[in-house]
């Protein structure tokens, strides 16, 4: 653990946060997910605003802990985490990098049409919905009719 003597820039902090993985879907970072809504210095305190994906997402507490741990590891000790619910989180805030990583991992990224564009495993467009809900609040359960593999689809909200 290093001790910081000068205040790191906001850009630097965004970079650090982009290295913190989402606890449920570790292939994307919290920044990719679009849930870090603000980073600013208020005097000597770093204020990070985080927005929840779903109201009851059980990962919310872990996410806050992970952010705090990462920033402490970079030598910051005066950190304030703020929950910001307005405007509400939307999958539009997910980065292009995040979307590509999701698909590579086997999770179809959100689409405005409300369903996956293609199977993340074989790219077939012949897909069918199994359930509107999936293994986490942010996902639904789909299946490919060609390769027959089930897959998760990141819901569009």
């Amino acid at each position: 653990m290093s001790q910081v003597t000068t205040q790191p820039s906001v850009d630097q902090i965004w970079e650090w946060l982009d290295a913190v993985p989402d606890p449920e879907i570790p292939v994307i970072s919290l920044v990719d997910l679009g849930i870090i809504r603000g980073v600013e210095w208020q005097g000597g305190t770093l204020v990070v605003s985080v927005t929840p994906t779903y109201s009851g997402c059980p990962a919310t507490a872990i996410i806050n802990l992970d952010i705090e741990t990462a920033l402490r590891d970079h030598g910051l000790d005066k950190i304030q985490l703020k929950t910001q619910i307005a405007p509400p989180w939307t999958t539009d805030w997910m980065s292009e990098k995040g979307r590509a990583k999701l698909e590579e991992f086997g999770i179809a990224p959100p689409q405005a049409a409300g369903g996956p564009e293609r199977c993340p495993n074989c790219q077939s467009k012949n897909v069918t919905r199994v359930s509107q809900f999936g293994s986490t609040p942010c996902k639904a359960h789909w299946r490919c009719q060609d390769c027959l593999e089930p897959f998760d689809y990141f819901k569009c909200i």
């Binding site: 109201s55 009851g56 059980p58 619910i85 359930s131 509107q132 609040p137 909200i157």
Partner: protein, 257 residues
């Protein structure tokens, strides 16, 4: 005769009504976890319950702030007894079977989605923000509960009977959503929330469309059980529910995670 409500007391009561609805329904739906007929339904019910309990944290969290006695959402959820709850009677009735659970969910989701649509325009920014956040989830709940009501209502003869029985049983609990009292009058006056009665027309259009598609008959009665949202009288079921939900805090006061 009780003293007239202050604006702050009315706002507190309004927030309890919102938060207690989502808390009690969330708990009821969570009772299915591990018991639903198929895995996908189990996951769907658990996710819905999770959303509702998450929404409760926001509503009761704000209620605690407005009350100004330093109470958290958890304090309000776990340290009140039956007479202090302000949820609709509809959400406390037992699950009974999958059909009744989904019919109850649909009848509530329909009201909830219309109510939140109005609350997004609330004069209170905190309420508008919670409504904007939660209405996205509730739109999803409504889509699912409406689809399931249609699927089962217009399904086999057996599933149709289950759904009609559920609708007949739950119908007398629908009217309470549209009753108004001095708390509502204070909310309307302050531009915080709509008059419940004003939501009825939109509600009737929505549920008629879905229930007709589901080949179900809406009972021809406007009798309504009341008393949940005012706290005047709950059903016997709420007390039983609380003994489960609040057991830990009752047995080990102050226990924390």
């Amino acid at each position: 005769m009780a003293a007239p409500l202050t604006d702050n007391e009315a706002l507190f009561q309004f927030l309890l009504r919102m938060g207690d609805n989502t808390l009690i329904l969330g708990h009821r739906v969570s009772e299915w976890c591990g018991h639903a007929p198929v895995l996908e339904e189990d996951i769907a019910l658990a996710n819905t319950a999770l959303d509702l309990i998450g929404q409760t944290q926001m509503w009761l969290g704000l209620a605690g702030e407005v009350q100004g006695e330093g109470k958290s959402a958890d304090d309000l959820a776990f340290l009140r007894d039956v007479w202090d709850f302000r949820n609709l009677l509809l959400v406390e009735v037992p699950n009974e079977d999958f059909g009744r659970t989904l019919m109850r969910q649909f009848l509530f989701d329909a009201w909830h989605s219309i109510q939140l649509g109005h609350l997004m325009k609330s004069s209170d920014d905190r309420i508008a923000a919670i409504a904007a956040k939660t209405s996205k989830e509730v739109t999803y709940h409504l889509e699912r509960s409406a689809d399931t009501v249609v699927g089962l209502g217009d399904g086999t003869a057996q599933s149709h009977d289950f759904m009609q029985t559920a609708l007949d049983y739950l119908w007398p609990y629908v009217g309470e959503m549209f009753t108004s009292d001095p708390v509502d009058a204070a909310m309307v006056k302050a531009g915080i929330a709509p008059d419940p009665a004003s939501l009825r027309a939109d509600y009737d259009v929505l549920i008629k469309r879905v229930l007709t598609e589901a080949t179900l008959t809406i009972p021809d009665s406007d009798f309504a059980h009341k008393g949940g949202r005012t706290g005047a009288m709950h059903t016997e079921h709420l007390g039983h529910l609380l003994t489960h939900m609040q057991w830990l805090q009752r047995a080990y006061p102050g226990a924390s995670w």
